[in-house]
């Protein structure tokens, strides 16, 4: 998470720039939002350039396909491409770009090439919740479990349980999560057949419709269990190790000794003194890992045929369905950027030293 707050107080000679602007910029929250918007804009521009400008870009490939395969005259093929990409191909570049952006702002991401008529937005609305659900749950589970185990390892330092957990953590954090996913399927599914992997394919069993009823929730969890387990295995190791070292240094702090001197109960000290302070640095890391895990969903969802945004993105890349590719990628980036923003806010609420400074 990119709080530039931890930058040391910039010892730069004072300059008389517009004070109003500086007061505005120094507002911690506003700076975050501006940066988030800029990232999204940048990603939108990059995909625009990729789709439209690079020689042999997908638009041209699509047009030549139409001309060759269906013998559609070039001009007509261009019209079709323009409507699908919601782009006016003849207009000067600047104008196209501007149009592309304005469509974006109104949520019109163009329509899919492969499944005619379905707009990218509907695709996103249908598949986004599954990724949010699986990745979100996994992150929560992995983060909380990681913190608790990390603290346990620090409290029980140099004992057998510490060594065992440390080794597990370093092994799982070293091995790529998708390889662990494959191992889960191979061993749990095939070799020991503890789990019926074919039934678990997809994100929902056929015939079960989304709704706030028990069967849906049970079924959704059943399908999502392996992807979530893979995400957790992929990230928990890092949390355990970071929390362990952070707790170890916090245990050495004076205020913990003073808390013990004041006769506070072990539980209270572990929660409000050690836990809270030791977990602070993990929040910064939590935001960074969001981008990593959401990114990883592309592979994990492909692995388990779990129909989330990652899976849709994979298919759109395979089938050269550029509008969907462009829209979904932008959606994933937006999701990560927003998650980072939220993580920033949570962090600034948690650490009063930042919150007060932020408000000045």
């Amino acid at each position: 998470m990119a709080i530039s707050q931890e930058q040391p107080v910039a010892a730069r000679p004072a300059r008389a720039s517009a004070p109003a602007l500086r007061r505005l910029l120094s507002n911690f929250l506003l700076r975050r939002v501006l940066k988030a918007l800029f990232t999204i804009w940048l990603m939108a521009s990059i995909t625009f350039i990729l789709i439209r400008l690079i020689p042999g870009s997908p638009v041209d490939v699509y047009i030549s396909n139409l001309v060759l395969q269906y013998q559609i005259p070039y001009i007509e093929a261009r019209q079709q491409a323009a409507s699908l990409f919601s782009l006016d191909l003849d207009a000067p570049l600047g104008q196209q770009y501007f149009e592309y952006l304005s469509n974006l702002v109104q949520g019109d991401l163009g329509t899919s090439l492969v499944t005619r008529g379905t707009t990218v937005s509907t695709l996103i609305l249908r598949y986004l919740p599954w990724t949010l659900f699986s990745v979100g749950t996994a992150l929560m589970v992995s983060f909380t479990l990681g913190i608790l185990l990390g603290m346990l390892m620090a409290y029980k330092r140099e004992t057998r349980i510490d060594h065992v957990l440390t080794n597990i953590a370093s092994i799982t954090s070293a091995i790529p999560d998708y390889l662990m996913g494959i191992l889960l399927v191979v061993w749990l599914g095939v070799q020991w057949s503890l789990v019926d992997i074919t039934a678990m394919r997809g994100s929902l069993s056929p015939g079960v419709s989304p709704g706030l009823n028990f069967t849906f929730i049970r079924d959704a969890l059943y399908h999502a269990s392996l992807p979530i387990l893979t995400y957790v295995l992929g990230t928990i190791g890092l949390w355990m190790l970071t929390m362990r070292s952070s707790t170890e240094s916090t245990l050495g702090e004076d205020y913990v000794t003073v808390a013990r001197a004041r006769g506070l109960r072990g539980g209270r000290i572990a929660l409000a003194y050690v836990g809270r302070n030791a977990s602070l640095p993990l929040f910064t890391q939590f935001a960074i890992s969001i981008a990593f895990v959401v990114g990883g969903s592309l592979l994990i969802e492909w692995l388990f045929v779990y129909q989330g945004l990652g899976y849709v993105l994979y298919n759109s890349i395979q089938q050269r369905d550029y509008p969907v590719m462009q829209g979904v990628f932008l959606m994933i980036t937006t999701m990560v950027v927003i998650a980072n923003l939220l993580a920033d806010l949570v962090y600034s609420r948690l650490d009063p030293r930042i919150r007060i400074a932020g408000r000045e």
Binding site: A10, R12, P13, R23, S26, E360
Partner: protein, 353 residues
């Protein structure tokens, strides 16, 4: 005091401010003084009073944002390359923390040889060897052979500070800025470090700017020199050490002297105490108007002290300066109080009577 060959370093209304978020903080505010070659000037003050920043500006490691720093009468910024190089090597610095002032992965001989070889002050290995041993003996680290091979983590705090001094001496400086050199060393070992530096001064004629928060150490080290007291970025009093310690003028100096405990039960328990009006130091971000000590000063007079800021030389008795209107009036230098403050003071007097 042996005649020393150096040039004086002069501060003229020097200031240094930093941008903190949207506000600007003045760490050093309109300070002027001159350090003559061979002299010892000691700067004393509480943490955050700007003494270290001043030290770094004297050593040319930090540029002022206001005012001028002069070396040998010429402004430092306008020196040409050759003169600037001479100024750069003429002033060296010794730091406070023995554990951070030496590069942990370089041996003592590597640390000391770097300047000697870089500036070609020695040619050939034997001359380097002799110069290293000479430096080690100068700072009292004998037998030199043992120490030269060691690494910083193998030495005690006091020994590391001696290496720091030896490193400063490699380029034969005229001027050494010592920023709290003894405050992290055990009391029982401090004196030998101070005495060693005093011997260097008499032997080599080095000028010293000695920075400390401990008045007693300042008195011991700068007994033959001058003492400057700083508060919230300003020089509130400066003069010959025996005078400033014996008969302080500025209320802040008086409070410091009266507050300092002495290692002698009867003396320190019966010392006359000055009651401050408030215990806590105002923050540099919101400085009180007029004299910045007025919220705590027992001699505070409404109107007089909180209107304009007393200049450094408000009280001026042949070289002895103090920035306080009340004392100026007491010492018959009423004419040096600006009109504005006098008018405000009268106003409050009428209202009060």
């Amino acid at each position: 005091m042996s005649t020393s060959k150096g040039s004086p370093i002069q501060f003229e209304h020097v200031g240094r401010s930093y941008g903190v978020g949207t506000q600007t903080v003045r760490a050093v505010d309109d300070v002027s003084f001159t350090v003559e070659p061979g002299e010892t000037l000691c700067l004393v003050g509480e943490s955050g009073c700007g003494k270290s920043t001043t030290g770094r500006m004297v050593a040319g490691l930090l540029d002022p944002t206001e005012g001028r720093v002069l070396y040998g009468g010429r402004q430092v910024e306008t020196l040409n390359d050759q003169e600037r190089k001479r100024y750069r090597r003429a002033v060296q610095i010794i730091h406070q923390d023995p554990y951070a002032s030496l590069n942990p992965i370089r041996s003592i001989s590597q640390t000391l040889s770097a300047p000697l070889k870089h500036h070609k002050l020695v040619n050939g290995r034997t001359e380097l060897r002799n110069r290293l041993e000479e430096l080690m003996t100068l700072v009292g680290l004998t037998p030199p052979g043992d120490f030269l091979r060691k690494y910083p983590h193998q030495l005690s705090g006091g020994q590391r500070q001696r290496v720091s001094v030896a490193r400063a001496l490699t380029v034969e400086p005229e001027f050494i800025v010592a920023d709290e050199p003894v405050s992290m060393v055990d009391v029982s070992l401090r004196v030998s470090l101070l005495n060693m530096m005093l011997e260097l001064q008499s032997e080599l004629g080095v000028t010293f700017l000695f920075i400390t928060h401990d008045l007693a150490v300042a008195k011991h080290f700068a007994w033959e020199g001058r003492l400057g007291v700083m508060y919230l970025g300003r020089m509130v009093e400066i003069g010959l050490t025996p005078k400033v310690v014996g008969e302080p003028i500025h209320p802040y100096t008086k409070s410091l002297i009266s507050a300092l405990p002495e290692p002698d039960p009867d003396l320190t328990r019966n010392k006359e105490r000055i009651r401050l009006r408030s215990l806590d130091i105002p923050s540099l971000l919101e400085l009180p108007p007029g004299c910045t000590f007025h919220p705590r000063c027992p001699y505070y007079e409404e109107g007089l002290c909180d209107t304009t800021r007393p200049a450094e030389d408000t009280v001026s008795l042949n070289g002895r300066l103090a920035a306080c209107y009340v004392m100026a009036r007491e010492l018959g230098q009423e004419d040096r109080i600006p009109e504005e403050s006098r008018r405000q003071a009268k106003l409050h007097e009428q209202r009060a009577s």
